[in-house]
Symmetry: C2
Subunit: 414 residues, 2 copies
């Protein structure tokens, strides 16, 4: 199957993907769209033309919104009907006549935050990441704390500082740990880091006191986006006991401009790694819930070309998104449309698979040599970090389902 | 000065208070109101009558909203103009003719969440609370961790489970710490606790990367409400390393129905306790920023009468609200209208001044005898906890500025 909209070889956005975003052209207000090839289909315009009747409730209002939240408030069946209709409209031989006027070139569009996050929860679901962090900071102890294999450990991040790819990231100020009995220095972080993560955007509100059973969690998972959980390691190190990370993380979290529907990734669900010990019954999940998604971190320094500094596959994550959602609600906590669950840093067993500079440089001990001749322990002003992700594509026999990219450039403290 | 609306002796809501809330009568949609005596003045109705022109931007829209967020988006000067005008309209000899038709008896009203919280940050600003918790859990160490006196320690709570007073609180399920090498039990918490706190509701959005200087923080502080940060101590104890409290807190946080303007509490600002060491310059504050607010915890068990189990004054808090807000934004994090900053548990030096059952019973070691003959370590199903707070009143020579009450009844896990 192919689309009447041209889709170049290697594009992230063939007919099988159809991710959602919020876009505008100069002088226009943000509005919802779906990526296809190098174009964006204007969802509100298509809805106003009557072409999305019978898919979601109140299509003109829901899809004429600037963010996905009204759509996220509806149910899984509505999401599926909308996706099916959009697929029909964009398939070669169909709908071109009625929808061609509603395409906007991506090159002319500015992207906005695709959803307003209600609560943002950041998990810690990569066993390689958690183990390496444990080895770095507790070299003499067990790398994993005793609770880690029993539950997807997590904390609440700051929802109000979730920003879209492309937003400049100002180096945060903060306190650092002083020598004993001395005054903590306050100034620009000296250990500005990245965290390569997948974000799950959830929908369909629940009722206080009523957990989501793990086998129903998928009904609340709308889609996936890239997440860079920027981290100031020195600020975090001084503040985090006993209540966890706060200012070391809250200055900004970047998300990708596109939310890829779970349904687009369905062909790329694979068996998850074995969990040992087996999870408690309320976290026990059958079915294939790991995502075979390739992830990359590119770093560009001194205005130079981007260079790949990390490559890992998300299928290695220990805890899956349905398990995270079941855990999150197991105490009766509600979810709201637009809540964001991030995986935590995704790392693999090899050094080149570390999803943070903390891991790639062993907490700054081993600087990373770059092709340009530069070296990096942590980020410097002017550095640009770009996350990329995709499933399928070249060599897999399946269409490429791209997540797009999630970029941010460091600007000086001030 | 007095109001033409009758204000009974000992009322929380004289003319000098005028707190904001969201209310409805049976079959009506929630709308904003101001408490006066035993009545609520319907703000939207008064605005539609043209009586609030010239106070806030677009008074009919702003004050016709179901929550305070549109008002919180405006500035300090608008808040002051609105409060001044409401005072005029309610003063004896003024406005009765024009506004008497817009009063609704509190007895007929159901109260709703007065604001939609953007982010909810819970601090840890009582030195007595932090020290007692330290002594309970680290009996051989320094009760305060080294960072505590240098910054107001905090974590992000779950904004989506902030609920209004009166909402039933279902006992949460969760994992508890097992003996070494055993499987964690999963079931209803056995250590359900309260935390007596003050909440600061903030307004006027900021720009990413631009901290709020401590001396400007007051411009963003709209008002104060009661907060009960319900806590499941056993769940918290097992999960909280290394990323802080999560499911042990996220099942529910109750807030009072009334937000008392900072301006109403201005006569009750007193000098804060000395901070030693002196805070770093960005947290150093002149002026009187402790609040002389009396707080009480009442517990009713077995359907019996409420009994006071804790009495403390908020003036003993070590870190003030402006310092909390300056710290929170010192890394460039933005705030949004409706963000909620809670003080953390407020405790005093005496055993009867503990703001949690953890402290009142020394982590369950010393059950609390109640007048009814019952004893409590932690909360049982059917228990009702009510927080109360006020400044001034009897014996002070100043009008009583009441915060109202914040109540919740425990329902069984299920």
């Amino acid at each position: 199957m192919s689309s009447w909209v041209p889709v170049p070889d290697g594009s992230d956005f063939p007919l099988e993907n159809l991710p959602y975003g919020s876009f505008s052209r100069a002088g226009e207000a943000p509005r919802l769209g779906v990526a296809i090839g190098e174009q964006i289909l204007d969802l509100g315009a298509v809805a106003r033309a009557g072409l999305l009747d019978g898919t979601v409730d109140e299509p003109v209002t829901t899809l004429g919104a600037p963010v996905l939240n009204p759509l996220l408030a509806q149910d899984h069946a509505a999401w599926a009907r909308l996706r099916a209709r959009l697929g029909e409209l964009l398939t070669a031989g169909a709908g071109a006549g009625s929808t061609a006027g509603h395409l906007v070139p991506q090159a002319e569009a500015r992207m906005h935050l695709p959803f307003v996050p209600g609560d943002y929860v950041d998990f810690y679901s990569s066993i390689e990441h958690a183990s390496t962090v444990g080895r770095i900071f507790r070299p003499d102890g067990d790398p994993l704390l005793p609770n880690w294999r029993w539950m997807p450990i997590a904390y609440h991040g700051r929802a109000g500082t979730v920003v879209v790819s492309g937003t400049p990231i100002r180096r945060p100020m903060g306190q650092r740990r002083p020598p004993p009995d001395e005054t903590p220095p306050f100034g620009p972080t000296q250990r500005l880091d990245i965290e390569l993560e997948l974000g799950f955007v959830v929908g369909r509100a629940t009722t206080l006191g009523e957990p989501i059973p793990v086998e129903r969690a998928a009904d609340h998972l709308f889609g996936v986006t890239l997440v860079n959980d920027w981290s100031a390691r020195d600020i975090q190190n001084w503040e985090y006991q006993p209540l966890g990370p706060f200012l070391g993380k809250s200055f900004a979290t970047s998300v990708g401009p596109w939310v890829v529907p779970m349904e687009a990734l369905a062909p790329h669900r694979v068996a998850a790694r074995e969990q040992d010990p087996p999870p408690l019954p309320h976290l026990r999940l059958s079915g294939e819930w790991a995502l075979d998604v390739e992830l990359r971190v590119d770093l560009a320094v001194d205005g130079g070309a981007p260079e790949e500094i990390s490559a890992v596959n998300a299928r290695g994550l220990y805890w899956s998104a349905p398990q995270q959602l079941a855990h999150l609600t197991s105490n009766g906590a509600t979810i709201r449309p637009g809540d964001l669950l991030a995986s935590g840093t995704i790392s693999g067993p090899d050094p080149g698979q570390g999803g943070s500079l903390l891991e790639r440089t062993w907490n700054g001990r081993d600087p990373l040599p770059l092709a340009s001749g530069a070296r990096r322990t942590f980020l410097e002003d002017g550095d640009t970090v770009t996350l990329r992700g995709w499933a399928g594509g070249e060599g897999t026999g399946r269409p490429r389902i791209g997540l797009g990219s999630c970029a941010g450039t460091i600007t000086p403290a001030g």
